[in-house]
């Protein structure tokens, strides 16, 4: 389908997606509550930093870091892999494939349509962070920092979403890619800066992590929100992030294209 067609379908798909996310708001609220891991880690690291700061992080810095993590997780999360797995298993993917628009657009708009509701969660957390540690530690200070932060959030979401598509599409080859996703999640938790700031890791490990996609899903937006980098470093890291967006996009589309050819609806 042409890009014009997609653009024409976009408002409707977004509206449907938004209506769905409002309809299941209680479910979404439970999801939000189940992402409390940053809070566990916040409390832990506050205890660790009680007497002396860890690297550049004192108690206040940890509060702003982990509250930012909580907010960024709300903004950049995607669950397309689970949906694709489910639809392949149930055979309902066939119905989507019959429509004149690629299912990938549908998954994407579904995800984006939930954004307003997720802002409803993320913004109060950011406000709380400002109240607790002051605006100078919790938020970007200058307009350009805000700009970079928004680009980083967008990039983080794009990598997460595309990785989801890639792993979801794997289920077209292997029946179920749940275990692959689980391994990805483990790597994400350990490497992304979700459980501790990446800066606290030893240099060798950090160099490796800088080449992996995980930090750019979570750590980078968080660091930019709390103003941890100057302009040149930030731009360098953003360039790597968007290189990953491109790479992951190519990979996802490739797996998807070959996978769909193999798809023979069972069940639906």
């Amino acid at each position: 389908m042409s890009l014009r067609g997609v653009l024409r379908a976009m408002p409707t798909m977004l509206r449907v997606g938004f209506a769905e996310s409002v309809a299941y708001r209680a479910e979404m609220f439970v999801w939000v509550l189940s992402t409390t891991m940053p809070l566990v880690n916040m409390v832990l690291w506050m205890a660790v930093a009680k007497h002396s700061p860890v690297g550049p992080y004192g108690q206040a810095e940890f509060v702003s870091y982990f509250l930012a993590t909580f907010a960024v997780r709300q903004l950049t999360s995607a669950w397309a892999a689970w949906i694709i797995n489910w639809e392949v298993k149930q055979g309902t993917l066939a119905m989507r494939l019959l429509r004149p628009i690629s299912p990938l657009w549908a998954y994407m708009f579904d995800n984006i349509a939930g954004f307003p509701l997720r802002l409803v969660v993320a913004v109060p957390v950011m406000v709380l962070s400002v109240v607790l540690v002051g605006a100078d530690k919790a938020l970007p200070q200058h307009a350009w920092q805000w700009g970079l932060f928004l680009v980083a959030v967008l990039g983080g979401w794009a990598i997460t979403f595309l990785a989801n598509v890639a792993m979801g599409a794997l289920s077209l080859f292997t029946d179920s890619s749940q275990k692959t996703m689980e391994v990805w999640m483990v790597l994400f938790f350990v490497c992304s800066g979700y459980m501790y700031p990446v800066e606290l890791l030893p240099d060798g490990l950090r160099a490796v992590i800088n080449w992996l996609p995980f930090r750019y899903q979570m750590g980078l937006p968080v660091e930019l929100m709390t103003g941890a980098h100057d302009l040149p470093t930030a731009l360098g890291l953003l360039a790597r992030q968007w290189a990953w967006v491109l790479g992951m996009g190519t990979l996802a589309l490739g797996i998807w294209k070959y996978g769909v050819r193999r798809f023979a609806a069972f069940g639906g």
Binding site: V40, F189, Y196
Partner: protein, 267 residues
């Protein structure tokens, strides 16, 4: 009566085991994912203790014991408690719980024993492995008395975990869409990864109080670890036993009230 239930338990267990034996590859995948998740539990520990010898009175080896208990209980939760009780949620949604309620045995017993995932026992092995490693770091073994106490606490912890799950599942009778409650539950359980005294310094100790008395996470992992180290006060042991019994009684009452609330979706 007891003999009948024991036999029933045997039958249910056998059915699950046979089912599990069909998928032997699962043994390795379960093992691998269990090791992966243990690694996520350990990663922050390594980072934390990379710079300092102890946090709130817990050294690396001692904190490792808590992670060991966490891993072990996670195995019990995911292998024996989660699968069957997730089935209840499915029953409620589809309106097929009637079939269970009509059977001439206690409904809570039937739903709690309907499915086990024996391969998840790998987590229990990982937990035991962590104990061995932790004690080799500490340079001494657990005292026999401490080991005995921790076994008693293993019982109370399992009972607590199970009762908490019964309470969560009971919520399904009222809100129906609770597939997520599983995730919510395991994310709250995440707090149990750390010695409860770590939370002492935050919000004037309110969190420690919550995790000891409201959601008794401290009882599940921190108490057994302290027992192994031989420093759990006797009052805490008595408190854990009495507390878990009271908690399970409450869960039982709530469960009975909840089934009273059940109206089959199909009729």
């Amino acid at each position: 009566m007891v003999r009948r239930y024991l036999r029933l338990f045997g039958v249910q267990l056998k059915a699950s085991t046979l089912q599990a034996l069909q998928y032997r590859v699962d043994f390795f995948t379960e093992g691998f994912t269990s090791l992966c998740w243990t690694f996520t539990a350990l990663a922050p520990l390594f980072v934390v203790y990379g710079g300092r010898p102890e946090v709130e009175g817990w050294s690396f080896g001692q904190a490792l014991l808590v992670v060991g208990w966490f891993t072990l209980l996670q195995g019990i939760l995911e292998g024996a408690i989660n699968p069957s009780l997730t089935g209840v949620v499915e029953h409620i949604r589809k309106g097929t719980l009637d079939f269970v309620l009509l059977k001439p045995a206690d409904a809570q017993f039937l739903v709690s024993t309907q499915r086990f995932l024996p391969w998840r026992a790998f987590n229990v092995l990982t937990g035991v492995g962590l104990f061995v490693y932790a004690f080799s770091l500490l340079g001494h073994g657990p005292s026999p008395l401490g080991l005995l106490t921790s076994l008693v606490l293993l019982g109370t912890s399992t009972l607590l975990l199970y009762s908490l799950w019964i309470l969560t599942v009971s919520a399904a009778f009222f809100v129906v869409r609770v597939d997520n409650l599983t995730y919510l539950f395991s994310s709250i359980f995440d707090f149990a990864r750390w010695p409860s005294s770590v939370f002492k310094g935050v919000a004037r100790g309110a969190l420690t109080l919550v995790f000891t008395y409201v959601i008794p996470l401290a009882l599940m992992t921190t108490f057994p670890a302290e027992a192994m180290l031989g420093r759990l006060p006797l009052t805490s042991l008595v408190g854990a036993v009495v507390g878990s019994l009271v908690f399970s009684w409450v869960a039982r009452r709530v469960w009975i009230r909840s089934i009273g609330h059940y109206t089959s979706a199909s009729s």
